[in-house]
């Protein structure tokens, strides 16, 4: 194995060993996505029943509304879990007061980021796959029925989550433990602009402009198009991908700057205090 890959594996192994030894951590990975799915699943079922029972309502329209809601919940969890996966893996090093050893090893900052992304991918799959299973078993909703395009939805939402996570880590490097709370909350703040449960068209004009800049909004427009019309909106996927590249480039530049500043200010010595 090349030394760079081995260093990345070293940090991945650190987190895998941690999860293997801590059932509360394992449970936490799936707990929230499954709970969300249960709550939104019953909500979707209720709404679908009301739509189907309304004058002029059809079972087909009701099923689509329910599916759009469940698809939104599941896919938004992909972005949330990806972002939290990176940020929490980084904070695990702070909580264990281990960063001093990590940063004086030959591990390059980009190898650290690579390892954090690997941990995030594993955490996301461990959280979202059970929720997808629950959606199928309890509500007969199969996300994968959308076809291979689901993989592209996943990839774009993961990229957005990772970009936000790099921004959060940059803030932790800058402001220390005071910025940790952002790891849990920052992506929720983008939910109104991500068009998870409604089309961008229902937003007021100024919010629409902001929503356009959010990669997830294009993913969810694409998801609804795939659900309702059965078409793949390559234009929306292209926009999401392009925006993600811009977000990741900006987040990478911010991380590189803050990492260097942290080394200059001595923040790596007492991070988390």
């Amino acid at each position: 194995m090349k030394p760079a890959f081995r260093r990345v594996w070293g940090l991945l192994y650190r987190h895998l060993a941690l999860y293997r030894r801590s059932w509360p951590r394992l449970l936490e990975l799936a707990y929230w996505p499954v709970l969300q799915m249960c709550i939104w699943g019953f909500t979707a079922r209720f709404l679908a029943q009301r739509i189907a029972a309304a004058p002029g309502g059809s079972i087909h329209a009701a099923a689509l509304a329910g599916a759009a809601l469940l698809g939104g919940v599941l896919l938004w969890e992909v972005a949330l879990r990806s972002q939290m996966g990176v940020a929490i893996a980084f904070m695990e090093e702070i909580w264990s007061r281990n960063l001093g050893h990590v940063f004086v090893s030959p591990l390059r900052p980009w190898e650290l980021v690579g390892a954090l992304l690997g941990v995030s991918l594993a955490r996301m799959l461990a959280g979202v796959l059970p929720a997808i299973g629950v959606a199928y078993l309890l509500y007969a909703f199969n996300l994968f029925a959308l076809g291979p395009v689901v993989v592209l939805f996943f990839a774009n939402l993961m990229m957005m989550g990772w970009a936000v996570a790099l921004g959060v880590i940059s803030l932790i490097l800058r402001h220390g433990a005071g910025a940790e709370a952002l790891a849990w909350s920052v992506l929720f703040g983008l939910t109104p602009f991500a068009a998870v449960f409604y089309p961008v068209a229902v937003l007021p004009a100024p919010m629409r402009a902001l929503a356009f800049m959010v990669p997830a909004s294009h993913v969810f427009e694409g998801m609804r198009a795939a659900l309702i019309s059965g078409v793949t909106r390559w234009d929306q996927l292209g926009l999401a991908f392009g925006l993600n590249l811009v977000w990741i480039a900006a987040a990478t530049a911010l991380f590189a700057y803050q990492f260097r500043e942290a080394r200059r200010r001595g923040a790596l010595l007492g991070i988390g205090e």
């Binding site: 030894r21 801590s22 001093g100 940063f103 260097r260 080394r263 200010r265 001595g266």
Partner: protein
């Protein structure tokens, strides 16, 4: 070639000058002690030597590598131990050593872990979570981590802090033997004067970020007319040497 070459090393935080123009060299295989009170600049100097902190001015060469432009090549051949930096407490000793073995790209890692465990009397502890160990056991694990890559330069920040005298002596004896066998260069920051006297070939006395005196423990004792380094340390910390000279005149 020197293992460490430091020139004009300065670190300023705003108006505070933490390290002020340090210049020193450590020959290959030697042990240098950094002595000084709290806030003298020892930890800041070690952080800069490890690339954890960017100096405001000056240069550091470790094993011929410039720490400003080529620090990863140097870090591959160095290691560090401090009781103030922990290892993940929930992971076992073996898992912790495995992580750092991968980070340092150690060949035949399991064999290396087994050998270190045997040397440092850790074999029985390999399956125990690091957080459940006593202070002495944690120090031995920290040493095993610091030696996992067979470092040519080892930086130790108060390696025997908070250890009982017996365990502290065990660590010092072990370090002496290790240095003799491996030829490793050691930079040791400590508040334990007996430890510095026993282990170090050369000592830098730091005060307010500056080197105020240097020399071998024997030379310092002779220069200050003292029987132990603790008295020398107090002379420097309290400016007693000047006061004594004044009183003599």
């Amino acid at each position: 070639m020197n293992a460490i070459d430091v020139a004009g090393l300065t670190k300023r935080y705003g108006s505070i000058l933490a390290v002020d123009g340090l210049a020193f060299s450590v020959p290959m295989g030697a042990t240098l002690g950094l002595l000084g009170g709290n806030g003298a600049g020892k930890t800041t100097t070690i952080a800069m030597l490890l690339g954890l902190l960017i100096p405001t001015a000056g240069s550091i060469q470790v094993l011929g590598h410039d720490m400003a432009s080529d620090r990863f090549a140097a870090l591959q051949r160095m290691n560090f131990s401090s009781p103030y930096v922990s290892l993940p407490a929930r992971l076992t000793v073996a898992e912790n050593l495995r992580i750092y073995g991968h980070l340092y790209d150690v060949p035949r890692l399991e064999h290396r872990i087994g050998a270190l465990a045997a040397e440092l009397d850790l074999t029985e502890l390999l399956g125990r979570p690091a957080g459940q160990l006593s202070a002495g056991q944690k120090t031995r694990v920290a040493l095993a981590k610091a030696l996992i890559n067979r470092p040519e330069v080892l930086l130790l920040d108060e390696p025997t802090a908070s250890l009982d005298p017996d365990t502290g002596d065990w660590v010092r004896t072990w370090l002496e033997r290790y240095r003799a066998e491996s030829g490793c260069t050691i930079l040791l920051a400590s508040h334990n004067m007996a430890e510095v006297e026993r282990l170090c070939d050369d000592v830098l006395m730091l005060k307010q970020g500056r080197i105020v005196d240097r020399g071998s423990p024997t030379a310092l004792l002779g220069r200050y007319g003292r029987d132990d380094l603790e008295e020398v340390f107090l002379d420097i910390a309290r400016d007693r040497r000047a006061a004594r000279a004044e009183a003599a005149t």
